[in-house]
Symmetry: C2
Subunit: 203 residues, 2 copies
DNA sequence: GTCTATACTCTGATAGAC
DNA sequence: GTCTATCAGAGTATAGAC
């Protein structure tokens, strides 16, 4: 796409189709494990046509990452300083788990990127993401110091929410294989995590 | 290596050097992201020589995976039915976290594999691994029913240990970027996880 | 056991017709 | 905007000398 004009309807639609197909592929195989042929086939376009919409494979990948962060951090951003601390954190956990269930491909894309040292997302993580976490950690620390939740390391509390919720998307293959087909991972994870954080934070 | 003879000293050594170099590369870039050239360079061998020791890139990768599982599951296997339930689980968490710290490459290799749907490890996960988890879950359930730990879903308790400990290896790039250079992730994670599981399991 | 040279395939990207 | 044809480079693996 050589020009910077506003996108036509067909352009918007094709870009969306390409990104959706690419998300599927990149999440399943990582950046290097995906070929333009596969993305093109999944999107129902020819390879040169794909490259008419995005300059390169890299450009498709970074477009996906760019779209990801806002969605990914929204639940943490939503923590309300004026709300009830325990309820706020439980709501955060619930939203984050729901995000794993509704957007597992995004979760795996993100996991792939960080696992490989965040070569493309590094600056964003060290910048805006770290900034948001610092801000929210301060909020949580305040709640703990006021005795409204049990004392807890706020940074590692946030890490625990990421780890526990994203695990169900990122390690889905393992979770399902271990639990067997009779279990519904997310239906069980909800109550488990609710119990865990209630007991962790109870004053 | 065409023959099935016992390995000479030099063969044993070169196989080890190759596997060590390959672990580094595969953990960092995933199966598809690694070239034989990179592994050969890291191992200090020529590419054809590499292929003298392993039939293919695939063979190197699966050799690594084969070596992985015993190490990975040892702490869970160590759970002692005769021990104190809370102490046993806390010891498990401690060992698993220590494993993340001492073997982050193995953790990331495993994460990469499962993230991509466990194409090669699938049968092992659905078989021996699931069997071990079922066994240990029964043990933990017994402890809970006897009132020796608080009521908790044993499968998801085990998942939580995996998620919380492996997170520090798999998402190390993010953890370090968020905490900044002044923090020591593992030194902080130990007490945090200890507190978390004490509160979760206290009767 | 180890190397140089090379065969062959796949893949990202471009040219140019329509 | 989309396609066919194609190039250049990278990558796995093998042949064969030493």
């Amino acid at each position: 796409m050589p020009h910077d004009q506003p996108l036509s309807r067909i352009q918007t639609r094709n870009r969306r189709v390409i990104l959706d197909a690419a998300l599927e592929e990149f999440a399943a195989a990582g950046f290097a494990g995906v070929t333009l042929d596969r993305i093109a086939a999944a999107a129902g376009l020819s390879k040169p046509n794909l490259l008419y919409y995005f300059a390169s494979k890299e450009a498709i990948y970074t477009a996906l990452l760019d779209d990801l962060l806002d969605l990914w951090l929204a639940p943490l951003r939503d923590l309300d300083p004026a709300g009830d601390p325990q309820a706020e954190i439980l709501t955060y956990v619930r939203k984050k788990l729901a995000l794993s269930q509704s957007h597992p491909r995004e979760s795996r894309l993100f996991a792939n990127e960080v696992l490989q040292g965040a070569p493309r997302l590094g600056p964003v993580i060290a910048g805006p993401l770290a900034q948001l976490v610092a801000d929210r950690a301060a909020l949580i620390r305040g709640w703990a110091e006021a005795g409204r939740i049990a004392p807890v390391d706020p940074h590692h509390l946030i890490f625990s929410v990421w780890a526990l919720t994203q695990h169900y998307a990122d390690f889905e293959a393992q979770v399902r294989a271990v639990l067997g087909p009779a279990h519904d991972p997310y239906a069980e994870a909800g109550p488990f995590l609710e119990t865990l954080y209630r007991r962790l934070l109870a004053v």
